[in-house]
């Protein structure tokens, strides 16, 4: 009997050792994200989680680094011709797709053609033509000199032409394949995505061999999954839970300024504002009223009380380091008395009434921030009627700009002020490709000229200067009232090595488990 027990004990010990050994050899990680990927085919839509999955299984000609700046990936080098329009890219040799076929210039041409027909077409709009010179050299010709071609290319994931045309795009979305550091294994929608390491990745084999992505949309559930050890790392820790998570043994919180700006879109030019209540003119057309708007808002209190300190009050449109961040833009000032004075000077000593349209549940604590704005604006006389919309209807409600004069919303800009402004603040109707989401109908010809000028400038430094002038112009003109940049908050086990990225992707390739 004793012998048998000893044997059982020995067997148990050995199997435990074997398990421990296997764990030691095979590093794996479970990542909890706020939502599922919309697509596994990265050409379908520019959406955060879809883009993240694009980074796991695919590469671009360029890949953005952690700061959001494009770096050589499948293209190793490039030159610009004297005409400022013709770009010649040298492609990496020895790169294979996961099925073993070689990556060539044909795949680049195919990728750009596919993206021209999807929701990603803004990334290809600068490109006129792509020519294959030899399997590892291509020429890209742009419509006009472009300073953002490299950024745009970094947003395109290279698709396998032979494989994707063979199985069709619907099947490809369910059985994706690229050249990236991880190989697709399984996708059960709204439950998990699993991937294994690509041992022959051109950039070197990943340290973490197995990755599981778990979409957990409820923030409290996501936090709980981390605290119970079910997942190793999560994104978007709720701001009020940060202290609790920090206090938990073996778990820590890391943060990074987010590229997402929360701001007010102001109806600055239309003589009659659809969101103005009980007046047949639009007080917001008066610069003094727009200035009062910004002066009345106590950004510091919103950051401190509602965001629990996890945000950055700002008067800028983009983070420092991005083109269009300007030192000449003064930091935001909170001065309700001055705001009242300006309103009185503009002829509204008793203020006026206006709707504030804001989302509820789209951004962290957005509904509460909107309430605080309503309260602060009402104090100086801008009496706000708050209209909170669920996230499913908010964007359809505000996009045409025909129902509101004051909109609180967010924008995450990965390139620069020029890209942001041409979507959000370029005069509507002047250029079909621009101003599509100009919810406040901002219409300033001088501003449009600067954006156009930046669009035709190939030198990034020069483009930066122009965009700084543009940003200063619209902020001082009160067409936008920047409020704060969010903070990206991640919770992780202490043994997970992780640095937050500008694009908010959690990339296992850059991580390790100790």
């Amino acid at each position: 009997m004793k012998k048998r027990l000893a044997a059982v004990f020995l067997a148990l010990t050995l199997s435990l050792l074997a398990v421990a050994g296997a764990v030691g050899a095979e590093k794996s990680i479970v990542i909890g994200l706020g939502s599922d990927a919309l697509f596994m085919d990265p050409s379908q839509q520019d959406e955060t989680i879809t883009n993240t999955m694009g980074r796991y299984m695919y590469d671009g000609l360029l890949n953005n680094n952690a700061l959001g700046l494009p770096e050589p990936a499948l293209a190793t080098s490039w030159t610009i011709g004297d005409d400022n329009l013709t770009w010649t890219f040298t492609l990496r040799k020895d790169v294979k797709f996961h099925d073993g076929t070689d990556f060539t210039g044909e795949d680049v041409v195919y990728t750009i053609d596919v993206n021209r027909t999807t929701l990603n077409k803004n990334f290809t709009s600068a490109i006129k033509e792509v020519q294959v010179i030899d399997p590892h050299t291509i020429k890209i010709i742009t419509n006009e000199p472009s300073a953002i071609l490299l950024e745009s290319l970094a947003s395109l994931r290279i698709l396998p032409k032979a494989y994707r045309t063979k199985i069709g795009d619907a099947a490809f979305n369910l059985a994706p394949m690229g050249t990236g550091p991880y190989i697709f294994e399984e996708w059960v929608k709204e439950d998990h995505i699993t991937m294994k390491a690509n041992e022959s990745y051109w950039g070197g084999a990943p340290a973490i061999k197995k990755v599981t992505i778990r979409p957990i949309s409820n923030a409290a559930t996501r936090t709980a999954a981390l605290l119970t050890g079910e997942v190793d790392i999560i994104e978007d820790v709720p701001v009020r839970d940060v202290d609790k998570v920090k206090a938990t043994e073996g778990i820590e919180v890391v943060d990074r300024p987010s590229e997402r700006l929360i701001y007010l879109h102001v109806d600055a030019h239309r003589p009659q504002g659809p969101g103005i209540i009980g007046l047949d003119k639009n007080p917001l057309t008066d610069l003094r009223v727009r200035k009062a708007l910004s002066l009345a808002i106590n950004r510091g209190s919103i950051v401190k009380m509602i965001m629990n300190g996890n945000a950055y009050a700002t008067n800028q449109m983009v983070l420092e380091g991005r083109r269009g961040y300007s030192d000449k833009i003064a930091p935001p000032v909170y001065d309700p008395d001055q705001a009242k004075k300006l309103l009185a000077e503009a002829g509204y000593p008793d203020g006026f009434k206006v709707y504030l349209d804001a989302p509820n549940g789209r951004y962290p604590n957005d509904g509460q921030v909107a309430q605080a704005l309503a309260s602060q604006l009402t104090k100086v006389g801008i009496q706000v009627e708050l209209r909170l919309h669920p996230k499913s209807v908010f964007f359809d409600f505000v996009r045409p700009g025909d129902k509101s004069s004051l909109v609180m919303t967010g924008w995450s800009e990965p390139i620069d002020v020029g890209e942001m402004a041409s979507v959000l603040f370029y005069t509507r109707g002047k250029n079909p490709a621009k101003g599509g989401s100009n919810r406040g109908h901002y219409a300033n010809p001088a501003f449009d000229d600067l954006i156009d000028e930046a669009g035709g400038t190939a030198d990034p430094a020069k483009r930066g200067e122009i965009l700084e002038r543009a940003a200063q112009m619209i902020v001082e003109d009160g067409g936008i009232v920047p409020l704060y940049f969010q903070q990206d908050l991640y919770g992780k086990k202490k043994n997970v090595v992780f640095e937050p990225r500008a694009d908010k992707s959690i990339l296992a390739y850059e991580m390790d488990v100790k």
């Binding site: 409290a220 009020r240 839970d241 202290d243 609790k244 106590n298 209190s301 919103i302 401190k304 009380m305 509602i306 509820n360 509904g367 509460q368 309430q371 605080a372 309503a374 309260s375 602060q376 009402t378 104090k379 009496q383 706000v384 708050l386 909170l388 669920p390």
Partner: protein, 294 residues
């Protein structure tokens, strides 16, 4: 008048009431809430619905007996810097107002349709009762949620949604009572002297079926208050700038696990107390008016 009041105090109902501590407590609670919502707003330190009067820097202050609490905010503040006590007084006002209005409306509509269906019978009866059946086969909360999701937030819409949900109960009860009453001799007598149907229904049938109605209506006030609180909790009830008790609980619940317990616990206790009081009273009335329990 004096004589009638005297009769009431000498009645069996009043006698039993005094001997039932639950009923007395229930009535005291209900009267406390009634007085509070009627005159409370004149005494609260703050008008929580005046968004211009709120200061964000007062947000999440603890109750005054805790560290960091202030006398100005006896029970602490919520996430917008609303004084919780004031917000609860105003919130009770909305909760009770909606409860009473909805019960009144659904009682009137349900009773009328129930009387008509029961008295006339036939096709009208079948039609109305199948409608009731269909509606009762859906959970009331689901129907209310659907209506609120379709029309958006607001007091009027809440009252509308809850009335739509509520009338069926009265219609069903009244109809069955009418079916019993209309076979009785006094109805035949009323018909014989040549009264047309509606005078018979309202002057003779209605007074005799009032007791079950009173019982249901009393208990329903509590149910409606709970339904309103649930809808507001789910984010489809009252506007966020005018929180009811349910919405206060919801706002507080978001931060409950961060240690800021007061902003959900106090409003939650208020809902509980109010519904508890109404139910005690309703139970007493049911026991009194139900002949089978005597």
């Amino acid at each position: 008048m004096k004589n009638r009041l005297g009769n009431f105090f000498r009645s069996e109902l009043f006698h039993n009431f005094l001997r039932n501590p639950g009923a007395v407590i229930g009535l005291v609670i209900v009267i406390f809430f009634l007085v509070m919502v009627l005159i409370g707003p004149f005494f609260t330190p703050q008008n929580p619905y005046d968004i211009g009067g709120l200061d964000l820097m007062d947000a999440y202050k603890p109750p005054m007996w805790m560290d960091g609490g202030e006398r100005a905010f006896p029970l602490g503040t919520d996430e917008q810097g609303r004084d919780l006590l004031s917000a609860m007084v105003y919130g009770s006002r909305i909760s009770m107002g909606i409860g009473l209005i909805v019960v009144l409306l659904s009682c009137v509509i349900g009773t009328f349709l129930g009387l008509v269906a029961g008295y006339f019978g036939g096709r009208l009866d079948s039609l109305l009762m199948r409608l009731v059946d269909v509606q009762l086969s859906f959970p009331a909360m689901l129907v209310a949620l659907f209506i609120m999701a379709a029309f958006g937030r607001g007091f009027g819409k809440l009252v509308f949604a809850l009335t739509i949900v509520g009338w069926v109960l009265y219609a069903r009860t009244v109809r069955s009572s009418v079916l019993v009453e209309k076979k009785k001799e006094y109805i035949d007598a009323a018909k014989l002297i040549g009264l047309s149907p509606f005078p018979v229904i309202f002057r003779h049938v209605l007074p005799n079926i009032l007791t079950p109605l009173i019982v249901i209506a009393t208990i329903q006030v509590g149910t409606v208050i709970l339904t309103e609180a649930t809808l507001s909790y789910l984010g489809v009830g009252v506007p966020v700038t005018k929180p009811s008790l349910g919405l206060l609980v919801k706002n507080g619940y978001d931060v409950l696990f961060s240690g800021l317990w007061w902003s959900s616990v106090f409003p939650g206790m208020f809902i509980m107390l109010l519904v508890f009081g109404i139910n005690l009273l309703g139970d007493f009335l049911r026991d009194e008016f139900n002949p089978r329990l005597k």
